[in-house]
Symmetry: C2
Subunit: 345 residues, 2 copies
């Protein structure tokens, strides 16, 4: 599995529409997705997947140079619903189509989400391998040189693969992704229901990790970031290297407002949003594209620090900030809604 900072053929996204996740019938989220797609398209091609009922709207709202294909979905987090692209020993790009159960079954239905990875691979003519367990792409982070980082909170959660042991899961990851060293952190970002690694800790190059951080001991995130730091500082990667760890301070805690909740429809099957709920805001959910990096910002005093830190770590890429509150309200951020397709060799 290539790292995100290796060359991309294109980026995939899914058009948001469900009104119990995206307020005001998803119109604000749609504008935010358009912005993200336009920025990525400055660096590499983008394909947006939109359902039958949304295709014309998506086509009209997006610039012509962004490809819009019809694809049904239950929600709009391509990182988690899409295939995991890998490259085989012949240098051919292939796709792993994992089982999908809507983040542990908390967003019903997911019948269409289950088909997205396969449909993406069909459109591209890329060989498909069925993944033998439930996995979301946002729950794994790789350096492209044999190291994978994940969280126990997600992969060992009884709502994902209750019949598999940690060893079973490690074998599946090794066999399908070609990784040799798997590092298990205990937990993801505070109040991130998925517990995904991609909001907590990410590679910017082999051996160099960024970690979301707070010095406020009263914040539940303090303990989470500290336990991750203290573990990683003692770890080595697949090549035997210790990690360079770079802390990126989180923004001030953000909460969903009463007005924002009022724009959501309520359905039988969705975990309800409650006004005052803390949002899992983190700069670490950035997305690295060819020659660029998209970084979520929150209109927060820490925004420039995050941007400067990432620019220093990725000096040959143009850092672009994206004010992403409307994406965050859905539960994730820029990295969660995007998926890179690598080039083969």
């Amino acid at each position: 599995m290539p790292a995100e900072f290796e060359e991309h053929k294109k980026t995939w996204m899914i058009w948001p529409e469900r009104p119990d996740v995206w307020r005001d019938n998803a119109i604000h989220a749609q504008h935010a997705y358009v912005t993200v797609a336009e920025i990525i398209a400055e660096f590499e091609p983008v394909t947006m997947c939109a359902s039958k009922t949304q295709w014309e709207k998506a086509r009209a709202m997006l610039p012509r140079y962004i490809r819009v294909v019809e694809m049904s979905s239950n929600d709009a987090w391509m990182r988690d619903q899409g295939p995991t692209f890998v490259v085989n020993k012949q240098g051919e790009v292939c796709g792993v189509d994992w089982k999908f159960n809507a983040w542990g079954g908390i967003y019903s239905p997911w019948d269409q989400d289950e088909l997205i990875a396969w449909k993406v691979l069909e459109i591209e003519g890329v060989n498909r391998y069925g993944g033998p367990m439930v996995l979301e792409g946002g729950s794994i982070e790789v350096d492209g040189e044999g190291t994978l980082i994940t969280t126990e909170e997600c992969l060992l959660n009884s709502n994902r693969n209750p019949d598999l042991t940690k060893q079973n899961i490690e074998r599946n990851l090794s066999e399908h992704l070609g990784v040799e060293k798997i590092i298990w952190l205990p937990r993801g970002v505070y109040n991130d229901t998925s517990g995904h690694i991609d909001n907590l800790c990410r590679f910017v190059q082999p051996g160099v990790l960024v970690l979301t951080w707070t010095d406020d001991k009263s914040d539940p995130q303090y303990e989470i970031s500290n336990e991750a730091y203290n573990q990683l500082i003692r770890e080595k990667d697949a090549k035997g290297r210790p990690f360079v760890l770079v802390k990126i301070p989180q923004p001030e805690p953000l909460f969903i407002t009463k007005e924002e909740v009022a724009g959501l429809t309520i359905t039988k099957n969705t975990a309800p949003r409650i006004a005052g709920d803390r949002l899992p805001a983190s700069y670490v959910n950035f997305f690295i594209v060819d020659n660029g990096v998209l970084v979520p910002t929150f209109d927060d005093p820490q925004d420039p620090i995050a941007l400067q830190t990432l620019q220093k770590l990725l000096p040959h890429r143009r850092v672009v900030q994206v004010y992403s509150r409307e994406i965050l309200l859905g539960g994730g951020n820029i990295h969660c809604i995007t998926l890179q397709q690598p080039f083969g060799k």
Copy 2:
């Protein structure tokens, strides 16, 4: 606009499903489409477009080497609903996305059919040009060297482009397809509601046309074939060449049976099929692929004559017969359900 007998990149088809056109919930038509797709795939790649509700079924019924992409539709005649592929002066393939009104508005609704040409071009990343009038691909036949043949019954029908004169239509065809000589035959095959040229008369190479034929003066088709023959024998193509005309005898008249009609649902908006209605059966609705030809057959004594005639005319291609009654019951045949995408230069 390249001729069909020039090299193809792939063939497009749409999965049949509407139960007021395809009997027994389309299951027999689906098997027939699978057969056609499998045969074409012996010669060139095939992409099948299937709706959200049918995608899994189509994926399961088709072999893995046939690409299945999600696409909504109102019916399954890619020739008519798809784009007209053309090649510009730089050698790039482009697509004309004509207006579409379901064969003169006789099959409502057609909101999804109107989007198919655009969606095909999006998937392929092929530049799209809007066609400024209603046109179905099956209503035009070209030799790839500047000649186009069509019928007045279709293109001058008041249910297609009532506001355009014959001269307006000729200009649109010339400008968008790069044709210099347009030949208007009066009528299509008897009881073919669309009046399309592609069931009556087709090119097998520049200068050589095949024409469906009967010597039975009591058959209404007799007059139609004769008037076409008598006109074409006096015509010249865009290069000034007279035509070689090859007659292919039609099969014995075929009729839809009571049992077949009983398998159709009835809807408010569909022209009803009536037991005993004559079917527009013709061998001329063949489809030329790279190194092959698919020819509809009807379990009729004329079948071998049609096959031998086409094998003689296309000696370097393998002629494959396809028993196609289940497609014919929908109103068309192999050529109507397929669309070739040419290579650029």
